[in-house]
C-alpha cells in the first residue's frame, strides 16, 4: 500500500519537466487563439469587432433569434468575400449581446460589448431598448447602426453616432393610409367602418396613434367605429372580440404581436365575426413561417404592412437561399433581412473609412449610398438625423400559404384579393 501511494503521489523529474513544457505550449496556443488582444491592435486590426445586441431570449426571443441570424449571416458573407479589403482584408467578428427585451439589460450588454472592443454596434429591435443603447453609444462615441426599431424619437435626440435603416413609426402610418386608400378605390364593395384593436404596450399604443393620425391626415374615408385596447399578455380576449363584433365593422385593423395574433384570429373565427378583410398596419404576428404552421387556412388572405424584403431584388434571392440553407428556417422576413442590412451598412462604411476610428466611421456612414440591397424602398442613405428617408413599408397578403407582396405595385409579386372570404369559409 505504502509503496503504491508513493508512486502515485510524486512525479519524477522527467514528468515534471514534461508538464512544464506542455503547459507553456498550451498557454501559448491559448494566447494565439484569443488573438493577443494588446498586440494585434498595435499591428493594425486583423479582426474588427461589431457588437450585436438583440432580444435573443425573453418574451420576443423568436424575433431576436431571427435578427441575430441576419447579423451573423451578413458577417459570414462579408468575410467570405475577403473581409474589409481597404484594411488588408480584416475579418469581421460579431460579438453577441442579449437584451432579453429589457432596456437596462440592453444597455449593460452594449457596455460589455464596447469594453470587449466593438468598434460599432448594431441592434436592437425593441424601441425602448434601442433608445437606451443609443444614449450609451452617443456617450461613449461608438457608432450605432439601428437595424430595427421604429419609434420616431430615437433619432430626434440630436445624436451624432446613431443611424437607422428601419422605417419610422410615422412612415408606417403614412404608407398604411396610402395602401388603405388603394384598397378602398379598387374594392367592389364599399368599406366604411373599421375597428382598431391594439395591444396596450408601447409598440401597440404608439402604432395605434400613428395609424389613426395618418388615416385622418390623409382623409381616408373610413370611420373608426370602435377602438379596443387589450393587455399584451391577455389570456383570454373573447370579450374584446365580442365588443368588436358588436360594432359591426367592415374591416379590422389589428395591432398585435406573435402570441396575440393567434388568439385574436381564433376568437374571430369562433365568434364568426363578419369582415371584408383584416388589414394590419405593420405589426408582427401575421407573416412568420410559424404563423402558417399554427393557423393553416386561417392564415390566408390576412393583410399586413410592415417594412419588408424586396422580392424583386436578385441580391435578396441569393442571400435568402443561403439563409434558408444555413439555418434551416423559412424564408427571410423583415427581421432577418433588416438585421442583415445593418451589418452590411457597417461593413460598407468600414470599407470607405479605411479605419476603425469612430469619427471616420461616422463620417463614412453619413455618406452611405447603397443602391443594391434586399429590402423595399430606394437606396440606403442617411439624412441629418441619421434616418433612412427611403425606408418604406409594403402591403402583404397571405395567399395559398405564402406571404406575398401586393403593394406598392412597382415591387409587388401579385395583385391582392379583396374583399376576402370569411374566416370560416377559407
Amino acid at each position: 500500500m505504502e509503496k503504491i501511494r508513493k508512486k502515485h503521489s510524486f512525479l519524477n523529474v522527467k514528468e515534471k519537466s514534461f508538464l512544464i513544457v506542455a503547459g507553456t505550449i498550451l498557454l501559448g496556443m491559448a494566447l494565439v487563439i484569443t488573438g493577443f488582444p494588446g498586440i494585434t491592435i498595435a499591428a493594425g486590426p486583423k479582426v474588427i469587432k461589431i457588437g450585436s445586441i438583440q432580444p435573443a431570449t425573453g418574451m420576443i426571443a423568436e424575433i431576436g433569434q431571427a435578427c441575430r441570424r441576419g447579423n451573423l449571416l451578413a458577417v459570414e458573407d462579408i468575410n467570405a468575400r475577403g473581409g474589409i479589403k481597404s484594411m488588408g482584408g480584416a475579418k469581421l467578428e460579431l460579438l453577441l449581446g442579449d437584451s432579453e427585451g429589457k432596456p437596462p439589460i440592453g444597455r449593460s450588454e452594449a457596455e460589455r460589448l464596447i469594453k470587449n472592443g466593438s468598434v460599432c454596434l448594431v441592434g436592437a429591435f425593441m424601441s425602448s431598448v434601442t433608445m437606451a443603447i443609443a444614449t450609451l453609444a452617443e456617450q461613449r462615441g461608438v457608432p450605432f447602426v439601428i437595424d430595427i426599431a421604429a419609434a420616431d424619437p430615437i433619432t430626434q435626440q440630436g445624436y451624432k453616432h446613431v443611424f437607422r435603416n428601419f422605417t419610422k413609426s410615422s412612415v408606417f402610418g403614412r404608407c398604411y393610409a396610402d395602401y388603405i386608400k388603394d384598397i378602398i378605390a379598387h374594392s367592389k364593395v364599399p368599406i366604411k367602418r373599421a375597428v382598431l384593436m391594439n395591444i396596450d404596450d408601447l409598440f401597440g399604443t404608439v402604432t395605434a396613434k400613428f395609424t389613426l393620425k395618418a388615416l385622418k391626415d390623409k382623409n381616408v374615408p373610413i370611420d373608426i367605429v370602435a377602438h379596443i385596447t387589450f393587455p399584451h399578455a391577455a389570456k383570454d380576449i373573447s370579450t374584446e372580440v365580442a365588443k368588436a363584433k358588436a360594432a359591426k365593422p367592415d374591416i379590422l385593423i389589428p395591432i398585435v404581436r406573435i402570441a396575440s395574433s393567434r388568439v385574436l384570429l381564433k376568437e374571430l373565427y369562433k365568434q364568426k365575426v363578419k369582415l371584408l378583410g383584416i388589414v394590419a398596419p405593420g405589426c408582427p404576428g401575421f407573416y412568420e413561417p410559424e404563423f402558417f404552421k399554427d393557423m393553416r387556412k386561417l392564415a390566408n388572405f390576412i393583410m399586413d404592412s410592415p417594412p419588408w424584403i424586396n422580392p424583386k431584388s436578385s441580391m435578396f434571392k441569393e442571400v435568402n437561399a443561403r439563409y434558408q440553407k444555413k439555418f434551416n428556417k423559412g424564408p427571410m422576413d423583415t427581421n432577418s433581412a433588416y438585421a442583415y442590412e445593418g451589418v452590411m451598412i457597417i461593413a460598407d462604411a468600414l470599407e470607405r473609412a479605411k479605419s476603425t476610428e469612430p469619427d471616420k466611421i461616422v463620417a463614412a456612414l453619413r455618406k452611405t449610398n447603397i443602391k443594391e440591397h434586399i429590402t423595399l424602398g430606394g437606396p440606403i442613405v442617411f439624412d441629418k438625423n441619421g434616418d433612412n428617408p427611403n425606408a418604406i413599408t409594403g402591403m402583404l397578403q397571405n395567399l395559398n400559404g405564402r406571404t406575398r407582396l401586393v403593394l406598392p405595385r412597382e415591387f409587388a409579386e401579385v395583385d391582392y384579393v379583396f374583399p376576402t372570404p370569411n374566416l370560416w369559409e377559407r
Binding site: E62, T239, A242, I258, A259, K266, K270, D294
Partner: protein, 290 residues
C-alpha cells in the same frame, strides 16, 4: 350597453373562471397543507402544457385524453419536488421558502427554453376552432370542455380529501403536523402526496387550456400571479374559497373588459385583491388564524 355583449362576457368569464379555479385549488392545497407558497405553480403548468403539446403533436393524443398521462407525470414531478427540495426548507423562514420556489420557477423556465426554444406553439386540436352559436351568443367548445373537466376534477379533489384515507391524513397533517405525527401518520409522505396532487391539478388545467392559448416558456408567472390573487380572495388554504374565487376573478376580468377599457381588466382583479386585503384579509372563506 348591449345586452348580448354583456351575457357573452358573463359566460366567457364564467368558463375561464372554472379553469382559474382548478389552478388556484392546486396552489391553495399546497399552501393549506405545508404553508408554502408555490411560486413555481405557473411553471409547473407550463411544463404540463409542453408534455400535452408533444403528446398531441407526436402521438396525436387529444389534450383532453392526454390528461390521463399528464396528471400522473405531473403528480410525480410534484412529489419528487417536495421530497427532494421543498421538504428541506419546510421549517425555514418564509423568505428562504420563497427564494427556493422562485429558483425552481427560473430553472423550469430556462429548462423549457433550453429544450424547446422560445417559439410560441399552438396545438390545433379537433375542438380548438369549434363554437356553439346560441342566438347572438358564442360558446367556445374548448372552453366549455375545459370548464366541465375543471369542475369534475375540482369535485374529485374535494371528495378525495373528504372521503379517502389519504385525504383524511392530508387534512390531519394540515391541521396539526405534530398531532398527525403522534398518531403515526408519515407526514413527509403526506406532504409529498399533497404537493403531487396540487401540481397534478395545475397540470390538468394546463392540458385543458393548451388548445386556447399559445404556449411558450414564459407563460408561468402571469398564471402564478392570477392564482395567487384568487387564493388570497378565497382565503389562504381554503379549497372552496379557491374554487369560488376563480369564478369571481374570471367573471370580474371579463366584465371589466366590457364595462371599462379592456386594457384595464387586470386592474379589476388587483383592485379586488386590495379591497380584500383591506377589509377581509383572511379572504372570503378563510378563518382568522390565532
Amino acid at each position: 350597453m348591449n345586452l348580448t355583449l354583456l351575457i357573452q362576457a358573463l359566460i366567457g368569464g364564467f368558463l375561464v373562471g372554472g379553469v382559474y379555479s382548478l389552478i388556484a385549488i392546486g396552489l391553495s392545497l399546497i399552501f393549506g397543507v405545508m404553508k408554502i407558497i408555490n411560486f413555481a405553480h405557473g411553471e409547473i403548468m407550463m411544463i404540463a402544457m409542453y408534455i400535452t403539446y408533444w403528446l398531441f403533436v407526436l402521438l396525436k393524443i387529444d389534450p383532453i385524453i392526454s390528461i390521463i398521462i399528464v396528471a400522473p407525470l405531473i403528480f410525480l414531478l410534484g412529489y419528487c419536488m417536495q421530497r427532494f427540495l421543498v421538504n428541506r426548507i419546510i421549517d425555514a423562514p418564509e423568505l428562504i421558502q420563497i427564494l427556493l420556489m422562485l429558483g425552481v420557477a427560473i430553472v423550469l423556465t430556462n429548462l423549457a427554453l433550453f429544450i424547446w426554444g422560445p417559439d410560441h406553439r399552438m396545438a390545433a386540436t379537433r375542438f380548438s376552432l369549434s363554437a356553439i352559436m346560441l342566438g347572438g351568443i358564442t360558446i367556445d367548445v374548448s372552453r366549455l370542455i375545459a370548464f366541465g373537466i375543471a369542475i369534475i376534477v375540482s369535485i374529485g379533489v374535494f371528495l378525495f380529501l373528504a372521503k379517502t384515507e389519504t385525504g383524511k391524513m392530508i387534512r390531519a397533517a394540515a391541521d396539526n403536523r405534530l398531532g398527525a405525527q403522534i398518531v403515526g401518520i408519515k407526514v413527509n409522505r403526506v406532504y409529498a402526496i399533497s404537493f403531487g396532487v396540487g401540481s397534478a391539478c395545475v397540470g390538468i388545467a394546463g392540458a385543458l387550456i393548451l388548445p386556447l392559448i399559445p404556449l411558450d416558456p414564459y407563460l408561468g408567472p402571469s398564471y402564478t400571479l392570477t392564482s395567487f390573487i384568487i387564493v388570497i380572495l378565497g382565503g389562504m388554504g381554503s379549497l372552496l374559497g379557491a374554487f369560488i374565487g376563480g369564478i369571481i376573478i374570471g367573471v370580474a376580468e371579463s366584465l371589466g373588459a366590457v364595462l371599462l377599457v379592456s386594457s384595464l381588466k387586470e386592474l379589476v382583479s388587483f383592485s379586488i385583491l386590495i379591497v380584500i386585503l383591506l377589509f377581509r384579509p383572511q379572504g372570503l372563506f378563510g378563518t382568522r388564524n390565532e
